[in-house]
Symmetry: C2
Subunit: 246 residues, 2 copies
Amino acid sequence: MSNYKIVISYDGTRYKGWQSQKSTDATIQGKLQDILKKTAGYPVEVIGSGRTDAGVHAKGQAANFHLKEQIDERKLLETLNHYLPEDIAVLSLEEVEERFHSRFQAKEKTYMYRLHTSKIPDVFERKYVYTYTEPLHLENMKRAAAYMTGTMDFTSFCANKHMKKSAVRSVYAIDFQVTEKEIDIIYQGNGFLQNMVRIMTGTLLEVGMGKKKPEDIPMILAAKNREAAGFTAPAQGLVLLEVKYD
Amino acid sequence: MSNYKIVISYDGTRYKGWQSQKSTDATIQGKLQDILKKTAGYPVEVIGSGRTDAGVHAKGQAANFHLKEQIDERKLLETLNHYLPEDIAVLSLEEVEERFHSRFQAKEKTYMYRLHTSKIPDVFERKYVYTYTEPLHLENMKRAAAYMTGTMDFTSFCANKHMKKSAVRSVYAIDFQVTEKEIDIIYQGNGFLQNMVRIMTGTLLEVGMGKKKPEDIPMILAAKNREAAGFTAPAQGLVLLEVKYD
């Protein structure tokens, strides 16, 4: 058995996410598995570093899969990109140790949420941003973000109300990149719960609008209740930038 | 009568170009005129700096139109962007002198043709590039481009075989921006004939492939015959960047 790691980029607009409950849905994982099955001649499971929601994009999702034989890496990379739809691309492919597992061994993930804040639309980026053109109190958003960093129980920022596993995650940093037309929020952490980045973004937006105060964040976290946090920001503004391994 | 100048950005994918022969076609000009007619209460002609072909994009197309009354510029800009489809945006709107004419007074235009040269697709730019992943002889392309600059008769690079007006144009510069994944060719000139940038790009590509030599360009120009030049590169890789006025 040979183990291969791939880094994948996708425009998530058309997809039900990385993985779906229903096998008939169009998913990124499904598209990759279809091509690998045809190429290898047997079913191949593609293990992602984590699921991305329907409509979420990626510039650096990571995954791995096993093949019974060793293959020409460059040739398989070309084959995958040849048969994949034009909104999915494999950026790199390399053989890795047999024990490598893209989900269990992921050490750090970086997500970016792009808020388009200008009243002038950007037609070329329209599918990759969430437009919010009312005034936002940026300094309060930054102060609220500071309360969200650290190793804490993020139950209040998790869409899954029946989580049985630990909701403790480490958020290493939340950075803001501000331009004339965008506020991009960059989240780095060891892992994120279901919808966590989108709920954090929705909550930061509510702080920016003045609906919530930065000082509300500790209470929201302590409540361990999804209802305490803000709304779930739309999927289309979110992109998974990178997954790091040791 | 008040005269207004606008700068427009559009993703040309869905459109039959800036302007079309058939009034039923979806065009950028048509979309703008529809909204202005509803807003003003009478038909308004939007005069573009020039036509862009079906599928060609713009980051800085210029146009002007007359209204019977003076209006609040900021408000009209917001109204236009509110009612325009998401693939067209008005970047700026300002009142100009009554004699200003966006076509007759355009002094310089800048177009960019984006060639995606990497075998790894860029899913987020896929609609705005033309993919050509075979090797290209860049130095020969640059030498050929040098032969295309200057004030000359560009009949061989014009799709319109029944042009009655002069085909003399000044191409000021053809620059190459090369990255790991793209060769972007930037054309600056006082004006361009129908399909001219696309035929120049197709011809440069044929030079890059070795099908034509840089030294063929003077003969191609001298032939004053469309058949002498190379193929017409696809519309989707082309974007009108800027139109300059005095």
